[in-house]
């Protein structure tokens, strides 16, 4: 571990949530992808193979509430930034007893005590002015330094990321 707030392997294992299917979109298996960021915690985006985001998860081992920093980071990654709304960010605290014995004992032995704080960003499908349904997509191509979140029509071919489109 190098950064304060980074998630040690014992907690990373305890917090893992593999599996799941893309709900009400394509029913294909969800892939979990890690994202790099300047924040000390760990980012994961759970998305289907087409890029439809189920949920984006930020986890930090800390006493403080990281929601504000998470919101700022997400606004930098999202086109337009107004897609990141306060009420779509939800905080969860993991104390230890609900994480399995290894994580419980690890957290109980730490001084000062800190829990694990998780911020979920979930954008539910919404209708645009044209009445068509839109969902949140993510493009994590290495062509841009950070991931790009954007909203697009959920039916039809996989939409192109606005940053990639600008570069062509």
């Amino acid at each position: 571990m190098t950064r304060r707030g980074a998630i040690p392997p014992v907690l990373r294992r305890a917090l893992a949530a593999p599996g799941g299917r893309c709900y009400r979109h394509c029913d294909r298996p969800i892939r979990t992808r890690r994202l790099a960021s300047r924040l000390p915690g760990a980012w994961q985006v759970r998305a289907c193979p087409s890029g439809v985001v189920s949920v984006t998860v930020y986890t930090e081992w800390t006493r403080r509430d990281p929601t504000k920093a998470v919101r700022e980071e997400l606004r930098r990654w999202t086109v337009p930034a107004s897609l990141v709304r306060r009420w779509d960010l939800r905080l969860a605290t993991r104390h230890g007893p609900e994480l399995g014995r290894a994580a419980e004992r690890f957290l109980a032995a730490q001084r000062p005590r800190r829990g694990v704080r998780v911020v979920y960003w979930r954008v539910y499908p919404f209708r645009g002015r044209d009445g068509k349904e839109r969902r949140l997509f993510v493009c994590a191509r290495t062509a841009h330094r950070s991931p790009v979140f954007f909203a697009a029509l959920s039916s039809g071919p996989t939409p192109e990321c606005p940053v990639c489109a600008r570069r062509r």
């Binding site: 949530a17 599996g19 799941g20 759970r46 949920v55 998860v57 006493r63 929601t67 306060r86 009420w87 779509d88 960010l89 939800r90 905080l91 969860a92 605290t93 993991r94 104390h95 230890g96 007893p97 609900e98 994480l99 399995g100 014995r101 419980e104 004992r105 109980a108 005590r113 800190r114 829990g115 979920y120 979930r122």
Partner: protein, 124 residues
């Protein structure tokens, strides 16, 4: 942030509360069933606060904002243990990733050192 606490001679578990909504698959039946089981092990009554029920919503909001994971549209379920000395301990918040992950959290809570120590100290 709440930390796991154990009973002493002057304090015992008093009541278990689950903040939930009936349409949430992490809540019903999963957390209601497990909440009943946990309340039985702790020998305390179970209180359910339904956020869609106007009168219960206010109590739920107060509990979550004061002791739980507050947010403009907070996560459910959230589980709290109230103690006889007035302290309130936040035990669990549902895992937004998927329902089986919340089920695993309940299983881990039942197998935890914390629960063992609390149950051991609760007078029969």
């Amino acid at each position: 942030m709440a930390k796991p606490v154990a009973p002493t001679s002057s304090r015992r578990p008093h009541r278990l509360t689950i903040v939930l909504a009936p349409w949430c698959p992490h809540c019903v039946p999963l957390s209601v069933t497990n909440g009943r089981r946990l309340a039985k092990r702790l020998r305390v009554p179970l209180r359910i606060l339904d956020i869609d029920h106007r009168a219960q919503e206010k109590a739920a909001d107060r509990l979550v904002r004061a002791y739980g994971d507050g947010a403009p549209d907070y996560l459910i379920p959230q589980v709290f243990l109230e103690w006889t000395d007035g302290t309130v301990e936040h035990l669990l918040t549902g895992f937004s990733e998927q329902v089986p992950r919340t089920a695993r959290a309940w299983r881990d809570l039942f197998a935890s050192d914390w629960l063992r120590s609390v149950v051991k100290a609760v007078p029969r």
